[in-house]
């Protein structure tokens, strides 16, 4: 397809959409009065209702239903797919990796973000320093994965061959031999997790920095007059004051990490025991054609997200109530 064809197609779609919205607005502007209110509400909600029902509610229910069927999706097998997730050794590795991701990423990314936010607080070049850490947030997971794959690149140590990956070159400069970072499990999962930490630390830093700046100055001043030193200030003033923000950051990164797919797929493709639930869902559904297991993995993801989201929302609520 030519570029101009594509642009024409896009403009057609936008015009069609504008026409639909135009009709809705026209009809809504014709009705008045109390009865009219109901009609306007119905008109405004109709497109959303159709899309959400067809695109979220029905597919969600359908996937839950299909998770009770076998690979071909024809024979009912009850909870066998879920049993597979918790018993087969491949799937247990997937679960272990997912737990590693979800436990390590939020805490390390938040710790680095918090440290950096405190270090650069009130610095002259604060805005610039923040942008440096924050930029990875704007990069796609695929882009970040390529950047880091390049850092981890390994060349065998023989003859004239030079390392082209930075990490192995640093190893050589320090007098060690180069290492295949992405091959050996479970260490390789940590090298993948570093990529996610690299992306998420900027998010943590930005939110926590804002929270730190919102700590009332008189509290800080009172503590200082009481002779509280830097570390005490951190423990007894900063952390308690920004606790709601900390929890929101931890849970938000946790949710994002649970669904991590792009990094694993781009860097290792789930090989060398690095797969996680979201990647395994894709492999089972589209590669291994095991529909039932794929559906069960998607439902697992759903179930695991719920408690974190509920906790996240409750924290946001209580923070709001303050």
């Amino acid at each position: 397809m030519e570029t101009t064809d594509k642009i024409v197609k896009m403009l057609e779609a936008i015009l069609l959409f504008a026409a639909v919205v135009g009709i809705i607005l026209f009809l809504a502007s014709r009705v008045r009065g109390k009865k009219g209110d109901k009609a306007v509400a119905a008109l405004f909600l109709l497109p959303t209702a159709v899309m959400v029902l067809v695109g979220l509610v029905y597919p969600g229910a359908r996937t839950i239903y299909e998770s009770l069927f076998d690979a071909a999706g024809s024979t009912f097998i009850g909870l066998d797919n879920y049993q597979t997730i918790f018993t087969s050794s491949d799937q247990l590795t997937v679960l272990r990796n997912t737990v590693l991701w979800v436990v390590v990423t939020p805490f390390v990314a938040t710790a680095i973000g918090l440290l950096y936010a405190i270090l650069i607080d009130k610095a002259r070049i604060e805005a610039f320093a923040k942008a440096l850490i924050f930029l990875p947030m704007a990069i796609s997971f695929v882009g970040a994965s390529i950047i880091w794959k390049f850092v981890y690149e390994f060349r065998p140590e023989q003859g004239d061959i030079k390392q082209i990956g930075l990490l192995n070159q640093v190893m050589i400069w320090l007098g060690f031999s180069p290492h295949q970072w992405l091959i050996n499990s479970p260490g390789n999962t940590f090298f993948l997790i570093i990529i996610m930490i690299w992306i998420q630390a900027g998010f943590a830093m930005t939110v926590l920095s804002a929270a730190i700046k919102a700590i009332p100055e008189d509290i800080v001043e009172a503590a200082r007059l009481d002779g509280v030193k830097a570390i005490g200030m951190f423990r007894f003033v900063t952390v308690p004051s920004i606790r709601p923000a900390l929890i929101v950051v931890l849970t938000t990164i946790g949710i994002g990490t649970l669904k991590v797919f792009d990094i694993v797929r781009t860097v290792t493709g789930g090989q060398f025991d690095t797969s996680v639930i979201a990647n395994e869902f894709y492999s089972q559904s589209f590669r291994s054609d095991n529909q039932g297991l794929g559906a069960a993995l998607a439902v697992m993801l759903f179930l695991l997200v719920i408690p974190i989201v509920v906790y996240n929302i409750r924290q946001l609520r209580s923070a709001e109530a303050r």
Binding site: M10, V52, V57, K149, K213, A214, A319
Partner: protein, 306 residues
Amino acid sequence: MTTAGAALPMTTTPTIAALETASGKAKKRLTSRWASLAAAVIALLWTIPTFGLAISSIRPERQIKTTGWWTFFSDPQVTLDNYRTVLSSEGSTGLGAYFVNSFIIVIPSVLIPISLAALAAYAFAWIEFRGRNLLFVIVFALQIVPIQVTLIPLLTLYVKAGLAGTFWSIWISHSIFALPLAIFLLHNFMREIPKELVEAARMDGAGHVQIFFKVLLPLLTPALAAIGIFQFLWVWNDLLVALTFAGGGNSVAPLTKALADLSGTRGNAYHLLTAGAFVSIIVPIAVFLSLQRYFVRGLLAGGLKG
């Protein structure tokens, strides 16, 4: 977003009270020297990988494959060939068509859900009708559905409707996935607008459509911008939706899919990977830098998506 905004107001701090003694100042300078060093180390660790990629992308193919990017400083050889190859639409190596696809995908995928969400949010915020709260809670709850749960049934529907492998399947999917969060955020913004403004307009005989356009829309511009930027970055950077619905070849698939494939099948085509990745990165970074203040406001809220 309101929730986020209220929890974490982006305020600026007043200047520190001038209570510090001379010794305190000296000590502060000392600790701040260590602090600066630590901050500099983190900043370096966070920028060097991207910097290395940028340097590599302008080195000749042979150089990239045989020496590290840091040799560029002792032996600087610059070429734009990688970019020329990557941006051309011809041949199997060119990513030009994918680059175009990314733009074709992202524009409707931002416009459609935000317009629809604005209408729905208005109905939830300013029109009284039975079942309003229940419906709103349902929309709110739908935010947590991971898109993985919906992909295969959606794909089946697209195949039946003859939309599989077209831009339509991607536009519709991104729009659907964006709606719950966008409605929730816009509803919160709309509720913040003083009731008197809306009621005064109603007294003057304005209908809902007029109120929506004349009273609310001008006040909502920052919110719409924040959500729009977020959706732009989300769609531009998406891989999963593209992999599932875009099909093979370069007729519909975006840059992220092309890069992921390139990284998998030709893992050592670093001259294409570096330039290609840099092209894909430069667009969201430009968007982010030019609209940073909106982006940061929308940050917390956007984290729940996906």
